[in-house]
Symmetry: C2
Subunit: 297 residues, 2 copies
Amino acid sequence: MSVNTEISESFRLIQDEICLALEQCDGGAVFVEDLWERPGGGGGRTRVFRNGNVIEKGGVNFSAVYGECSDALKQQMHTQAANFFATGVSIVLHPNNPHVPIIHMNIRHFALSDGTSWYGGGIDLTPHYIDRSQASWFHSQLESVCDRFSPDYYPKFKSWADDYFYLPHRNETRGVGGIFFDDLGREEQSSESYKDFVLEIGRSFAPIYTHLMNLNRDRSFSTQEKMWQQLRRGRYVEFNLVHDRGTRFGLLTNGRTESILMSLPATASWEYDFTPEEGSREQETIDLLVKGVSWVG
Amino acid sequence: MSVNTEISESFRLIQDEICLALEQCDGGAVFVEDLWERPGGGGGRTRVFRNGNVIEKGGVNFSAVYGECSDALKQQMHTQAANFFATGVSIVLHPNNPHVPIIHMNIRHFALSDGTSWYGGGIDLTPHYIDRSQASWFHSQLESVCDRFSPDYYPKFKSWADDYFYLPHRNETRGVGGIFFDDLGREEQSSESYKDFVLEIGRSFAPIYTHLMNLNRDRSFSTQEKMWQQLRRGRYVEFNLVHDRGTRFGLLTNGRTESILMSLPATASWEYDFTPEEGSREQETIDLLVKGVSWVG
């Protein structure tokens, strides 16, 4: 099957752009880079951030892999195709200051030897303390990127993110959501017409997140706020290890563990049955961790 | 179907015995108790330990629940029976001092309305630093309990624990293992003859663990050893959330989340691609996190 080097090259450039923007904005750390090869074909460029001024731990990973479809892959992808090609950029950033939100982005392209191909991805935000105006601004940025391509995208992909980034065992959304989409173009002759949208999502990441970094990086925080951050990070770990399809698929199918688990925070906490005080900012945040909040318009 | 109150009462007494022994040994904390009811039938007695002299966080939980078999339960248990009864005691203890090992114990009884019933359970040890003589002592204690019932038990259940408490994505066992068993008596007329063995496992827990607490509680530790403990706790979180069948089944089927996740530590850490120095005690521990180590004989 053909390996689409044009799209993987575009993704690699987006990884470069984002890393540069984050390094400049953070000002205190550089990415450590690991190049790796996948035994079955392809490889990746893992870039990990540590102990920056703003970002405590995070990763901006690129990979482009191909080879035979394993049984697990066939099951996950609902296909009988013999070979696959997959490329993408994945980001998770855990800031030090609890007033700076955690962010996640993923853009990916998948192609099978039966001729089908598609795009997927999204961006979502997980504030430790939800600031309504910042959450609205974040959603309006995503809406404006979506609207340049189709007025249907934002409402559909916002709702998809609400459903996906949800912890049923906590009855909480992971954060304030964002957009999530998959299988774009899979049922069509070609997925080519979705390429520009996905690249645009990738390019929107750095300006959106550096704006949120700069808004909040100098805000002071208390020991109690730091403790709350650790508990929220615990929830992030729960989501990623219990529910996130990409993480679980990677771990259960012999993916590169250290690249996959770059999404986990440097530290996290659990406390039995922790309940915030009524009327506290912590309780206010929990009250907003629900599906269906209209952040824009 | 009949609800076996004799076995659940024995389990409840074992919970009492263990809690008393741990409180006396720790000397610095008492359990906080939560009684809860399951909407579909039955309930539990969750007891959680916090900030003791030795135990930083842990739980000793009892439950006895019954009701209709959900589809998920039917699938997990490979049954078409309409109703179930399940009772058990589950323990995880995370000590403060990195020289005291983490321990886990579970004993459980399961019965279905088709007349089948069985026992399961086990004890396993997860030292942050493996002490060979203590690991051998631990295994010899389990062997001696097993041998009172059958010479086949220890080798079989030790090997089962090696296979079960294993993180494929890390190519590491969770710790030095112990014993694990399930479905005892399921294929027989009655599971009654396994009851005494399982109760004896439950009763062996307190003397075994308080001995290990006392051996190690006063050992001094460095910042580096504390950091290593946090990374090992991260692995414990990974096992429980990604692989442990009981945890995943509970979380995905609307179990009592706070009781299930009492197994998670107060704090844990992740560091990208952390590699201990050659010849260090950390590396020595990793070298022993493999299946098939003969700890006794």
